[in-house]
Amino acid sequence: MAALDQKSPNVLLQSLCCRITGKSEAEVAHQFQYAVRVVGSNYAPTIERDEFLVSEKIKKELLKQRREGDAALFSELHRKLQTQGVLKHRWSVLYLLLSLCEDPRKPSRVGSYGALFAQALPRDAHSTPFYCTRPGSLPLSYPERSGPGGVQISTSMGTSGISSLGVYSLNGPTPTPQPLLAGHPPQTAGQQLGSRLAWALPNSSALAPTSRAPLAPSPLSTRAPRPRHDGDLTGELGVGEAALVRDILYVFQGIDGKFIKMSNTDNCYKIDSKVVLCKSLRDTSNRLAELGWLHNKIRKYTDSRSLDRAFGLVGQSFCASLHQELKEYYRLLAVLHSQLQVEDDQGVNLGVESSLTLRRLLVWTYDPKVRLKTLAALVDFCQGRKGGELASAVHAYGKTGDPQMRALVQHILSLVSHPILNFLYRWIYDGELEDTYHEFFVASDPTVKTDRLWHDKYSLRKSMIPTFITMDQARKVLLIGKSINFLHQVCHDRTSPGKITPASKSTDSPKDAAELLSDLEGAFQGKIDAAYFETSKYLLNVLNQNYLLLEHLQAMRRYLLLGQGDFIRHLMDLLKPELARPATTLYQHNLTGILETAVRATNAQYDNAEILKRLDVRLLEVSPGDTGWDVFSLDYHVEGPIATVFTRECMSHYLRVFNFLWRAKRMEYILTDIWKGQMCNAKLLKSMPELSGVLHQCHILANEMVHFIHQMQYYITFEVLECCWDELWNKVEKAQDLDHIIAAHEGFLDSVISRCLLDTNSRSLLNQLRAIFDQIIEFQSAQDSLYRSALEELTLRLQYEERKKQRDSEGEWGVTAEQEAEENRRIQEFQETIPKMRSQLRILTHFYQGIVQQFLVLIMTSPDESLRFLSFRLDFNEHYRARDPRLRASLGATRGRRPSNI
């Protein structure tokens, strides 16, 4: 300075011109003129002379370019400058340097704004100095559409665009026409804030920005240069656009602005009626305010839900995903806001090109609005739901044709279903259910104890089944977890589930959940099926090998259903004298002893000890007048896992059937005895010809009864028990899981009961049968008394003959007259009793036949086919039919006929 400061500014200017343009003095005459004019006209700067501010700006600028080291360096240099104290106008030098500052990473500039200067030049040539031109009269710069990318003049704009934001914000949207035109590589370098704005606009979605060509700003490129009216007319029309823009930015966040406030009655944003606004502005603001309304709605939902403790994991992840979306939205708002800030900083000088207008906001917020609309609709739909229901609701929204919306909803769905799938995998592979908020579709009832674990403890919560999981899959899932728990708790089998099913990786991240959701039919189903097969197979193995389930099933058949014939026969033989006594005199231990004897003496002794130790005697309740036969029953103890299949109801069914079968067997037994008696006594009583009629009657009746019982036994044994058992066994062998076995078993018992006439429909039949049995017993006792008196008579007569012979041999008269008279009298008496016996027997026969006929009629009209065929067998020679007109209708004709028609 010492040597140079004598030069006048003009000289300096000229030399500067020469220096920069690199031309000789003559050629830069024009520029020099211009420079002089510019410099001379604007003596007072329009900005503050604040060195601190400038240096801060420089630092900010450097930081914007992410050169923190350089910023530190600059601070150092600045400090040095300050200490040196050579310069007097430090701030102006710094300001100058700052204004000439260029970002090295800045994208090569489109649009030579030389147009601006070219126009400014002539203007200046006339009279209007550069800075006096109203911003309004400057046309907006138009992007240079030169073909080959042009010479990207990398100088900044003519405005004092110190903050590159102002420049780049315009630069932001404008590069887009280039890619549209010439395949110019998109300006990816230098993510300045402004260009970030352009990217941020369509990227204010949660989608990973896959395409670099933003969709929204194409309308921007068609922006024709237009003079800005609105900014100028602040005073005259009430509220200017800038103020409105500011307000709108607040409204976007849900905060009431100065002019636009939330009206709770109408539930919308309303512009204060006192404010004077032109119609277009009003309409545009209304449209923009919708965004704020949507935002509020979503925000309200997430806020209220975050306070709700019982919302559960699914709900929380839903809120988190909403939050994520809102974050992107806020990012957009922040960008817009910073735009506004910059304008404030720069004042009006920034000119038209970079400020926010309502129209720009409209366009830029179009995509976010669509997204927010989707989210708001989702929020509406999901009000009050949680858990699986929430996931179903979100899934329902995914069925849309709009790919953006679908992508958004899919993303949310994957986040939301992640906890559910976690639950599912833990349940399938570990059998654990940690569901404090009742969101999962498997519910566990903690009050149920282990013996009812299989049946009652776990159930499906139908409302919580997400719609992307079918009912079949849900049932399988329930079954798998149930099996694992069953194994752990009831079977005490502690093998880790990892051995049962090779556990594939569970959903660790929402990405896995998304993948799974996209392939529900294949991968998911495959996983569930694999787990199902393995677990069930393992469970059945454990049950069969450790707990001998199938053996027990067969043992039931043998003992309770009278399958083991020799054992039952022997038992009955042994029990006969005991059970003839009245019921009250029976003791259980006696009977148990007899049972043991029977077991040891027959083939039953070779059975598995496990089975034999469960066999026991049970005495039913005693009613007055019962004999032992009425209260006796066998029993089979079950416990542990077996009790799951043989539940208490099943056992009671078994006992009923046993009762029935035992009675039938007893009848058979009785008739056998009767027959034996008849055979023995027939020979003996041959000598009493008067008895032959009675005996004949007895024999006939006995034969009838034998035939009847024989057919009943055939029916019971072959048509009922064997068939049902065969079916059951087939099903059990083919069973894939425990549920199948349980179902098959219950079906077996149901069919046995209904066909043994034990269910409620066949009550009348059963009563008839009981009546028949009673008749048989009566007959037995009648026959017994008959034989007793007959045999007594026989012995007396034989004695008489004996005595006669003896006397003869002794030489006396065989019989004396009075002895003979006495004998004759006795015989007479005896013979008088015979008609009584005959009539008794006749009554018995008649009664018996009546009951059988009734039974036959009932059977003929029963819906069960095998019963109808039983009637055919019972009446094979139409013996009953001849007696009863009701039975005369043939079998074919009664099919479908009501009994009342007969």
């Binding site: 343009t21 211009y34 604007n42 102006s92 002539p122």
Partner: protein
């Protein structure tokens, strides 16, 4: 004494200029030493830095566009008339 003072002054000045050059390099202004010194002098004399910077930018732009424009005659004519090809395309009013 004056010479030492002068020498000190010179040193200080040189240092200052160095610092300023460094800053200018940091800020990537594109100014070389001589231009920078001219600018500094102008600023010290009270010139409005805004105006000065706009001038410099304009000069640079003009010089670049001068390099681009290959048609020799048009160049001067354009500059004199202040009409840019772009403005014709835009149909903007020009003077």
């Amino acid at each position: 004494m004056a010479s030492s003072a002068n020498a000190n002054n010179m040193n200080a000045v040189r240092e200052t200029m160095d610092v300023l050059l460094e800053i200018s390099r940091l800020l990537n202004t594109g100014l070389d030493m001589e231009s920078l010194s001219i600018c500094v002098r102008l600023c010290e004399q009270g010139i409005n830095p805004e105006a000065l910077s706009s001038v410099i930018k304009e000069l640079r732009k003009a010089s670049d566009s001068l390099k681009v424009r290959t048609c020799s005659g048009d160049r001067d004519r354009y500059l004199q008339n202040g009409v840019n090809r772009d403005t014709i395309e835009q149909g903007c009013p020009h003077f």
